[in-house]
């Protein structure tokens, strides 16, 4: 009887958990640890023999100037995107929790860029920057539109920032709206009775109460910006002269274009460590500031 029960339990465990666990182990866990191993080898993707080379890849990585250009680009990019996306998304959310007649339609419209993939958006915006901006510049004479968009380091950088923020703001706006809708009216009214102005209500009531939404938005925008790949590839391909190449694109190129798989996995390992560290730190830091409502 006891044996039968154990056998039954094992069967249920394999049927219910088995498929997911199997795919997860094969597709995520094994490549993850294999990558750590490859980062200490000279694997080139083709050769049958893979030789242990110790820390050579890591030494090569630290003296790879292009890698550090990518690194610095990714940091500046993430910083710009996190600030702009969240400020714009929050302001839009404040606007669209007002009792506007068309607010549901407006929320939908601001969300639309989000459902389109980064690759196609990058191609679309190539046209906007190159032809669209030029046409607007010609018609209005505003200098901003007559810049050489995507052709210089600065316009390349801000070009990607513009598209990224344009796409992500609607998403973050939805999360901020959900947060704002949860704020208890009576707390706001109590503050009004105490004579608090709009800014004071925002700062002392709204911000502390929507801290969970802020955590989620900061976390999502930061990790998405740091991992940007599709948009980068389709909008600038890292150019001009590698000045807008993100870390993710640099890793891809190192492995699949230059065939330095060992060096690529070394970079990928560092990439993982940074993403994991920043994510955990950021969640921990913001969680501390959340209040129970």
């Amino acid at each position: 009887m006891a044996g039968r029960k154990r056998w039954m339990n094992l069967l249920m465990q394999s049927v219910f958990l088995g498929p997911s666990l199997l795919f997860f182990v094969v597709i995520v866990v094994i490549p993850f640890f294999l990558g750590m191993y490859y980062s200490f080898t000279d694997w080139n993707g083709v050769a049958v023999t893979v030789n242990w080379v110790g820390t050579r890849n890591f030494v090569a990585m630290f003296s790879d100037t292009k890698f550090w250009v990518s690194f610095w680009f990714t940091i500046r990019f993430t910083l710009a995107v996190v600030i702009l996306t969240n400020v714009i998304a929050f302001l839009l959310a404040l606007l669209l929790v007002q009792p506007l007649k068309m607010r549901n339609l407006l929320r939908t419209l601001f969300f639309i860029p989000n459902v389109i993939g980064g690759l196609l958006l990058g191609f679309i915006w190539q046209f906007i920057f190159i032809r669209g901006f030029a046409a607007v510049g010609k018609a209005t004479g505003i200098g901003f539109f007559n810049l050489e968009w995507l052709g210089t380091e600065a316009t390349g950088f801000w070009g990607i920032v513009i598209v990224f923020v344009w796409q992500a703001a609607g998403y973050m706006m939805i999360i901020y709206i959900a947060g704002l809708m949860n704020v208890d009216r009576s707390l706001i009214e109590a503050a009004e009775i105490d004579g608090a102005g709009y800014g004071q209500k925002l700062r002392f009531i709204t911000f502390p109460l929507i801290m969970p939404a802020i955590t989620v938005c900061l976390f999502l925008s930061m990790s998405n910006a740091f991992k940007m790949f599709d948009l980068n590839l389709s909008l600038t391909r890292g150019g001009p002269f590698g000045s807008t190449e993100s870390l993710a694109l640099n890793i891809y190129t190192e492995a699949f274009t230059n065939s330095n798989y060992g060096l690529g996995t070394a970079k990928a390992l560092l990439f993982f460590v940074i993403v994991a560290a920043v994510s955990s730190l950021q969640v921990w830091f913001t969680k501390r500031r959340e209040v129970q409502s």
Binding site: M12, F32, G35, Y38, I124, I174, I188, F229, F272, S279
Partner: protein, 279 residues
């Protein structure tokens, strides 16, 4: 935070501002649509004006070059199969993990959650080798299996949170009535999971439909298996700066997902809010 006041002059002003902002926000789509209907020379002359003569030539040509029906079918098959299997396997796994919290199962759940911070780019290089050795490259089932592996973490995490809120008494009643463990799960638990199944379906659809890098690495070598993003990428690198063709192709590429979004927008926006708050 919602202001309960009546529709005042101030609200009207805010409404006007919001509408103007939304129009400004959507200007890129105006450029794409009007120019996709122009002849190439007209695009170069003036990219901002409405087309003088409307031509659908660009669309018929882009349709053929992109092999749009094929790319669309590939994207659709992958998205639907991966979605159905992810929802099935992950709801079962999450159910098991919640109801049988053995030490092994707790560690497994923690592994699923921890893996959410791993960026795709840090495992893609060895993944290509593992997938090739297992015969998962160059075919659609292989690509779908990759999605089952990568999607498991978030999907199980979302179901896990939801199953915890399902009262165990309902299941016990089912067992008393003589339901098998499968009967309890499929007849009693799954119907209760419906709201989370919708959220999971939406999040995974937006991800898989638009995904570019994984299909590129797994089926990129086989032109027959191109998804919409892969076909667009190949098309665009071949016809760079041929804006008449490119814009028509891009518009066709974004149309299906926009239709999907507009049809399900209420669920999608609710699903995003729900998924994000829990994620």
């Amino acid at each position: 935070m919602e202001t309960g006041r009546k529709y005042s002059a101030r609200t009207l002003l805010l409404e006007v501002i919001a509408v103007l902002l939304a129009l400004l926000f959507l200007v890129p789509f105006y450029f794409v649509i009007v120019n996709s209907l122009k002849k190439f020379a007209d695009i170069l002359k003036n990219s901002a004006s409405l087309p003088k003569t409307v031509t659908f030539d660009n669309f018929t040509r882009a349709w053929e070059i992109l092999e749009f029906p094929k790319a669309f079918t590939n994207s659709l098959v992958i998205t639907i199969l991966a979605n159905v299997l992810l929802a099935l396997f992950c709801s079962m796994a999450a159910y098991r993990l919640v109801r049988h919290p053995s030490r092994f199962n707790n560690i497994v759940f923690m592994a699923f959650v921890a893996a959410m911070v791993i960026p795709f780019q840090s495992i893609m290089i060895p993944l290509v080798r593992v997938a090739a050795n297992l015969g998962l490259t160059g075919n659609l089932p292989g690509l779908i299996i990759c999605y089952l592996g990568f999607g498991a973490s978030l999907t199980i995490f979302l179901f896990h949170g939801f199953v915890k809120s399902v009262p165990v008494e309902v299941e016990e009643a089912g067992i008393m009535d003589g339901c098998s463990p499968f009967g309890v799960f499929f007849r009693i638990v799954v119907p209760l999971l419906k709201p989370m199944i919708v959220t999971v379906f939406i999040l995974n659809t937006l991800w898989i439909w638009n995904d570019f890098l994984l299909p590129l690495l797994i089926v990129g070598g086989n032109a027959e298996l191109r998804t919409i993003p892969l076909a667009t990428n190949a098309f665009f690198s071949q016809y760079t700066k041929q804006w008449d063709l490119a814009l028509a192709g891009l518009l066709m590429g974004i149309a299906p997902i926009i239709v999907f979004f507009l049809a399900l927008q209420k669920h999608i926006i609710a699903g995003i809010a729900a998924g994000a708050v829990k994620g």
